[in-house]
């Protein structure tokens, strides 16, 4: 009964005109960035974050979350119609989706992707609604050692799931933690690594770093190549899947939703991993695995459902523990903090309107997405015709204006450009950027928890082992770090990565 009251509260919040508008804008922008190759949800959230400064926290988070799950919907359109994945999570959709389009079945492919995403989105919102409150209650018993260990294990899982070298991912995480130490120490007040620059006293801002790493660097990577606009001629008719299409894809949608949701809870690029896992699972369970890659509708329905369900799952650690699971949720954490709200176990008791508002907005957002995706497919195809040479100057414009309007500081703009070049070089050298961002966001919190733990224990590191939850988390961290050194496991991990790279 209590849960129904909470849902009612969330509904009241979401149906306020401003929040409805922001929910709509979020899913619309999300679909747009999902459709456009070369602009992901991370960059889009970073670009639009400054635009939410003057709104209420509820409206801001509703819109930013809408961009996240909306991008997953939009990503499938380009994969199916033109074989260009709008999102990394939609790469696997190209395999069967584009084949279906070539056979004149683009309509049912797009239709099942949209319906599958809607069902998965709904299942993941239900999962989030049921799992988040008890988990948050459990997390109330956490002290500084548990939080420190949890953050450590979060970073290490992200490193373990990195697509490249573990060593390089580890270096990026440590680098992110180091950047996080710049500025005034929150406990002693000492200035650290500021080089006398006044603008660095408060630390390196999240927005300049994210906009540089994801916005500017993505532009630099794209302008490096000669940009050719592909002529889009694809058309989609008869979007409603037939009864046979539903029969062939129903269980794939359910399996994809459940798998995606649980993979989403884990730190890392969960949307991408979940879509690949779902595709592999459908292929394994199919009576005709040899037909996968030739236009099997289950090969579209499963992965598209999985990547949508993962978005709901990945919000669980953020909302209940205050720990982001990937770069997008790290940005959402930044957005919460900018609006003066600390996500974590106290979020539900302190800000029930915000928590339940987000939950209900996600459900409503999924309905909006279904309505947006099916009738507006033609519009999204038109959007694909906007040439990148026109698009990229405007991405840079939004980055510049977004960063400058924060504090009217040229130093922050310079930092953004620096992070942009750093992000470009990182991509070139195959350094993962996600561990860097996550470490940068949670670094200051992690340091505080470490120091508080050592203050409690009077300098003894045994506190992390003596407390059972912390001990389990530390054991997982050590096991993950060392397992990659065991030849068998390390080889299997590399093989899996190679397979994913090949399929890309």
């Amino acid at each position: 009964m209590e849960i129904l009251n909470q849902i009612l509260l969330g509904t009241q919040i979401v149906f306020q005109p401003t929040n409805l508008l922001f929910c709509f804008l979020g899913v619309l922008m999300g679909t747009l960035v999902g459709v456009l190759p070369g602009l992901g949800p991370t960059a889009a959230i970073a670009l639009l974050l400054p635009a939410t400064f003057h709104t209420s926290p509820v409206a801001a988070i509703i819109m930013l979350a809408g961009i996240y799950y909306g991008a997953m919907y939009g990503g499938s359109t380009t994969s199916i119609l033109v074989n260009i994945p709008g999102e990394a999570a939609s790469v696997v959709t190209c395999l069967d989706g584009y084949q279906m389009a070539l056979q004149g079945r683009a309509g049912p492919a797009l239709g099942i992707a949209a319906f599958g995403s809607f069902i998965a989105g709904t299942i993941s919102v239900l999962g989030l609604m049921l799992i988040a409150p008890p988990l948050a209650k459990f997390a109330l018993s956490f002290g500084p050692p548990e939080y420190f260990s949890l953050m450590l294990v979060g970073i290490v899982i992200l490193i373990y799931l990195a697509s490249g070298s573990i060593l390089k991912a580890l270096m990026m995480a440590v680098f992110g933690l180091l950047v996080g130490t710049i500025g005034q120490d929150s406990i002693s007040g000492t200035l650290r690594l500021t080089f006398g620059i006044r603008e660095l006293y408060d630390g390196v801002g999240l927005i300049p770093a994210i906009m540089g790493l994801f916005g500017v660097s993505e532009v630099i990577v794209n302008v490096e190549k000669v940009i050719k606009s592909k002529v889009i001629t694809a058309k989609a008719k008869n979007l409603l899947p037939s009864l046979k299409d539903w029969r062939d894809s129903f269980w794939a949608i359910i399996r994809g939703s459940v798998t995606g949701f649980f993979i989403g809870i884990l730190p890392g690029p969960s949307s991408t991993i979940s879509s690949f896992t779902s595709y592999a699972m459908e292929k394994k369970l199919s009576k005709h695995p040899e037909k996968f890659g030739t236009g099997m509708i289950a090969g579209v329905a499963g992965p598209e459902s999985a990547n949508n369900a993962a978005t709901g799952g990945s919000l669980i650690p953020l909302l209940t523990l205050g720990i982001p699971a990937n770069a997008v949720t790290a940005l959402l954490l930044g957005a919460f903090m900018i609006h003066g709200v600390q996500p974590g176990p106290m979020l539900i008791p302190k800000h029930p309107d915000l928590f339940w508002g987000i939950i209900v907005s996600m459900y409503l957002g999924n309905v909006m997405l279904l309505a947006l995706n099916l009738p507006l497919i033609g519009l999204w195809v038109q959007v694909l015709r906007v040439p990148y040479p026109i698009l990229f100057p405007f991405i840079l414009l939004f980055c510049l204006v977004g960063v400058f309007s924060l504090n009217f500081s040229q130093v922050e703009v310079a930092l953004m450009i620096g992070f942009g070049v750093l992000g470009y070089l990182g991509r070139k050298f195959n350094f993962e950027l996600a561990p860097l961002v996550l470490a940068l966001v949670i670094g200051p919190m992690m340091e505080n928890y470490l120091r508080l733990s050592l203050i409690i224990s009077r300098g003894s590191a045994w506190i992390f082992i003596k407390r059972p939850i912390s001990a389990i988390l530390i054991s997982i961290t050590i096991a993950l770090l060392f397992s990659s050194m065991i030849p068998g496991i390390g080889r299997r991990r590399r093989k899996l990565q190679e397979r994913i790279e090949r399929q890309k």
Partner: protein, 186 residues
Amino acid sequence: MAVLLAGLLVRFPGQGMSGIVEKGGYRDMQRICQTTALCFVALSAFVVWESWNLEYYTKLGPGGGFFPLWLGVVMGGLSLAWLVQVSGRKGSPQDVAFLPERMGIVRILSTVVALVAMAGFMNLLGFQLTMFLFLVFLLMVLGRQALWVTLVAAFLGSVGMYHLFGSYLDVSLPAATVKLLANLGL
């Protein structure tokens, strides 16, 4: 970062005009990776040095230098491990595939220099004029768009954005400090 950039800007002798990667390209790549690893080692040494001058431990517990010092040490260890790894490894064609072509480098540099110029001149010439010139450069020179497309897009992005932010979002973007331009309403 500067060393890295310099490494990317030189023409790589191992990469022939035909684009076919010769054996020397792998060696160049290895050298770039080694230089990068050494840059990370130097950064770690700097962080350790800086943290050393901060308070490591206080009566209450760890001081301001505690966390960065250990991070510097860990970073140094990881960088050395990477240096050893890249020094002992044989190159592969994928390693060299990342090197940008000469025109790619020109486009990257143009974009970065345009961004730096935009940031540098924004307070002097005002947002509207600087952004207009920035967009014209990117759209026309790099994007090779038609003149009318360039002018319309640049006008909307500069003057339009200035007024949109000023009037609706309550964010005043910088006006020109040069008197002549300020008198013109820029």
